[in-house]
């Protein structure tokens, strides 16, 4: 097998694991360097009039939805499966659906922001699912299959 030019596949997953530190970024302690805790993630919802997207760096209350049974900052994201690799892809998906139970969100919203609530609410991704409202009902965001090519985050 000949040598080749590539970004190492393991690095793609390790980015999501926080295994590399190229700069002097300030992080919140993960308790132990040898047995660190997993960061907590959350998911907040945004009105269609908000500006959440690639340039978003952290959770913001600006443009966030409000309504019955919705708390500012959103809900916890279940993260029981660590990032991994397959082929040349690093990937990760929340390990359960994101659920907002019996909410009333009357003003149209269209985007969920996943962010790291342990690390200064740093933004991870924004997902636009089209304008919607919920009335005395449950909003369920089902996650895709956690595999290369289908996972919520793919670093290909």
């Amino acid at each position: 097998m000949a040598n080749s030019t590539a970004i190492c596949t393991s690095f793609k997953a390790e980015l999501m694991l926080g295994a590399h530190q190229f700069g002097a970024v300030t992080i919140v302690s993960r308790t132990s360097l040898t047995a660190p805790t997993t960061d907590s993630l959350k998911a907040s919802l945004y009105l269609t009039t908000a500006s959440i997207g690639a340039s978003t760096t952290a959770y913001t209350a600006t443009g966030e939805v409000s309504g019955t049974n919705y708390s500012a900052g959103g809900v916890a994201v279940t993260n029981a499966t660590a990032p991994t690799t397959s082929g040349t892809t690093g990937y990760w998906t929340p390990s359960a659906a994101i659920v907002y139970t019996t909410v009333t969100l009357s003003t149209a919203f269209d985007t969920v922001l996943l962010y790291n609530s342990t690390q200064s609410n740093r933004a991870i991704l924004a997902f636009n699912f089209g304008s919607t409202t919920v009335t005395a009902g449950t909003l369920t965001l089902n996650m895709p299959t956690n595999a290369a090519g289908t996972a919520l985050i793919n670093l290909a």
């Binding site: 449950t138 909003l139 895709p144």
Partner: protein, 65 residues
């Protein structure tokens, strides 16, 4: 009796008109289930399924390129 939560409290499902509204976008499928009582919307629940991943290509630069 099958009760569901509505804007008017718990209500027997048999009293309500139920309709699914399906929308498919570039990267999602959305099903909104609307419950109406005499034409008035009393419950609307939504399920969104992500259809495509959010993908980033990690590109390597060229050394002395």
């Amino acid at each position: 009796m099958n009760l569901v939560q509505t804007t008017q409290g718990l209500m027997d499902l048999s009293r309500l008109e139920v309709k699914d509204v399906v929308e498919v976008g570039d990267n999602y499928r959305k099903i909104a289930t609307e419950y109406r009582l005499g034409g008035e919307l009393v419950r609307r629940e939504v399920t969104v399924t992500a259809l495509r991943p959010i993908e980033t290509v990690a590109e390597q630069g060229v050394i002395n390129g």
